[in-house]
Subunit: 153 residues, 2 copies
């Protein structure tokens, strides 16, 4: 039996381990910069996330090792008769644990957290280049009803 | 020449006009409830949006009439070397002005606002049932690189 995964909020001293995971990814390696010291922009972003009650940066840990990260944003909307939504973004698992079900546990945890926060919907977008991710999320109950459109500024 | 459109933040007394617009829509009429008095849930959602510095509910007005609404959410992320994104959601125009370019002006305004707030990306999802909306956003420079996945709770 595999060791249990524990979830907790990220702290400032976790940012290094998080960026390492973000950069260790087929798309992430092109756009992240894992240097020593880390670019200051990562720490500034962490502080902005940490200061916002409607954003939670969550770590999955096995024993004391960080093996996964995701960000959950809670947003109030007027649509659907006034409701809250949870948006999951930046989901990554350490390459050392991929294929062992950690991702499934992370998303299931995020869905429970969204229920606790009173959300009526959980949403995410996934890059069409990530074919496995689409199947992964469909298996967990997400439905690709929408086009996810982006514009870089 | 058409009257200019002015943009401003929504106030509590605008919620009635906003919900009327949300309900006057092929998908919205199924899921919204425009009654007198309005369901309390709309006012609660408005208060939550209004209290959140990272959410802006924006109205497009022609003279004093509200002709469009949209919500812009600003979110800090660790990804892309620590960055802010703007998410546009709940875009509606009054049926009396559709096809007159108000939607284009609204999205252009939102993109400028995202730049002012230092965002590196603007994103939105659009229901695949709204065929015209996909073309509309593509014409404005959005690229449908992602699947937009939803799970109702």
């Amino acid at each position: 039996m595999k060791d249990a995964i524990a979830f907790r909020r990220a702290r400032k001293q976790d940012v290094d381990a998080i960026v390492k995971m973000l950069a260790d990814d087929v798309l992430g390696k092109e756009r992240e910069r894992y240097t020593n010291p880390l670019p200051e922009s990562y720490l500034q972003a962490f502080q902005a996330i940490d200061a916002d009650l409607n954003n939670e940066l969550v770590l999955a840990c096995r024993e004391s090792e960080v093996i996964g990260v995701m960000q959950i944003t809670f947003t109030p909307y007027l649509t659907h008769q006034g409701s809250w939504r949870a948006t999951i973004e930046g989901v990554r698992t350490s390459s050392s644990v991929r294929g062992q079900g950690a991702g499934t546990q992370m998303i299931e945890w995020a869905v429970e957290r969204a229920k606790e926060r009173g959300c009526s919907l959980v949403q995410l977008t996934t890059d069409k280049q990530r074919k496995d991710a689409l199947r992964f999320y469909e298996k967990l109950g997400f439905i690709p009803t929408h086009e996810g459109m982006k514009m870089k500024l």
